[in-house]
């Protein structure tokens, strides 16, 4: 059997190898064999493994998402929904949204630990390549309409079919992030102004739908023909559909291509018309602003949270220290947005 494991912790890898072999034997038949297992970088809150299985002369390319070490140690990220729920969401999305297909789910008390397997979709996730490389020039033309359609598909999944998810409307998110910001006792006038403006101009409420929660380049697989898959559903919740649309517009997720409000590749009017054509609500660009301001504020406070890990001594890395000097990026973005509201 050709089997290679590239990993630091062999105990972990052996456990995964055994569990994958047993699963493949059941799923693809006793003649199947595990060809290759490798830990992929990225994904701080979950392990991601690339897995190849050979069965009946065919190679099956898979991705394993697994809780670090197989067990949920603690509430690492209070917002993350857990892998079983994430797998269930991928099943709900299949058919209407380009997404990986779930092939196996492992419970926390299994030999594997808490994890699921899905098919591996080829393509690129690195934003700067997608936005710059010639290989994706056709994809960039298609991407805005494809994202509009995918978002409409996500928001149309009947809530009654969904697993239990937290419901977090915009004002509840504002409360939460304001509390975190005040807890740091590092006053920032631009954040105060954004918080106060958001409070005074709340959007009319909208019936809660499934919100992906982190729909942006980095979490999308893009190939030469455009959007191939929507990944990373761990921040999914029930909320306002405009949150997803606006998060894709937050300047931090335009990766330097500010002139293209949608993810650095498209215009908002095009996204909104594709969204409406695919059955989504008719939103005006102005209705997205409140949520984009909230999005920039949230990202700024997330940067403060990461810097706090340095300040508190929890993570002494230079990278955590340096991210504190990215908060001002969100301040200029907030001012650019608020200027239009004065």
């Amino acid at each position: 059997m050709l089997f290679r494991v590239i990993v630091a912790k062999m105990g972990n890898a052996e456990q995964i190898q055994k569990a994958l072999t047993a699963w493949a034997g059941q799923f693809y038949g006793p003649e199947s064999s595990l060809e290759h297992v490798a830990r992929l970088s990225g994904g701080a809150s979950q392990e991601t493994w690339s897995v190849d299985v050979a069965a009946a002369g065919k190679k099956h390319e898979l991705i394993l998402r697994r809780v670090p070490g197989g067990f949920q140690q603690s509430a690492r990220n209070s917002e993350a929904i857990g892998l079983a729920t994430e797998a269930r969401l991928l099943e709900c999305a299949s058919g209407t949204v380009p997404a990986p297909k779930v092939l196996g789910v492992f419970s926390p008390d299994s030999d594997m630990g808490e994890a699921f397997l899905m098919n591996r979709i080829s393509g690129e996730t690195i934003a700067r390549k997608i936005l710059r490389d010639d290989a994706y020039s056709f994809a960039r033309e298609k991407l805005t309409a494809q994202c509009g359609k995918a978002l409409a598909g996500i928001h149309a999944i009947p809530v009654s079919e969904l697993p239990d998810l937290p419901e977090t409307p915009g004002l509840a998110q504002l409360d939460k992030y304001e509390d975190i910001y005040r807890g740091f006792d590092m006053p920032r006038p631009v954040f105060e102004l954004a918080i106060s403006w958001l409070r005074q101009n709340p959007p009319p409420p909208s019936p809660a739908v499934l919100v992906h929660g982190d729909f942006r380049l980095g979490n999308l697989i893009v190939d030469e023909s455009g959007l191939a898959a929507v990944l990373d559903w761990e921040l999914a919740h029930l909320g306002d559909p405009r949150e997803d649309i606006a998060w894709l517009c937050v300047n931090s997720w335009r990766f330097g291509h500010s002139e293209n409000r949608v993810g650095g590749f498209g215009q908002l009017d095009d996204l909104l018309s594709a969204y409406a054509d695919a059955g989504g609500q008719n939103f005006s660009a102005e209705e997205i602003d409140w949520w984009e301001i909230l999005g920039s504020l949230k990202w700024g406070i997330m940067c403060m949270i990461m810097y706090e890990a340095y300040r508190s001594g929890a993570d002494p890395s230079v990278e955590r220290a340096a991210i504190g000097r990215r908060v001002s990026e969100t301040e200029i973005d907030l001012l650019n947005l608020l200027e239009g509201k004065a």
Binding site: P187, R188, P189, V190, E192, L193, I195, S196, W197, N251, R254, G256, H257, S258, E259, S317, V318, E319, A321, A322, R325, R326, S328, E329, E331, I332, D333, L335, N336, L338, E339, K341, A342
Partner: protein, 122 residues
Amino acid sequence: MHDAPSQKEMIEAVKAFIDNTAMPSLKGHAAFHARVASNVLATVLREMDIRPEAESEEVQRLTNLLGEAPGQSAAVLNQKLCEQIRSGDISLTTPGLLSHLKTTTISQLSVDQPGYSGLKAR
């Protein structure tokens, strides 16, 4: 006290060591952190150049905006500005507020991330 080498020279020397010696011989995560470390030192060098004048102008603007007595620090004045925005005494439409915050944030970004796209937007 002596200043040879100066603070600036010492930081420049460490940055050159990271860039030209340490970084090329490191791999993976360590190489990434070396790059971040070099960027941090570049931020410190920019701050040494820009901050003194930018902060004294910021204090001047804050003093005028808040109608405060002169001689207070940027930290104290910013704390007061935050309180007044929070209480609603100062808002988006208060004359001078947006231009003050923009000037301050642009100075801050010219230290923190001078290449950031938001500086060019609009």
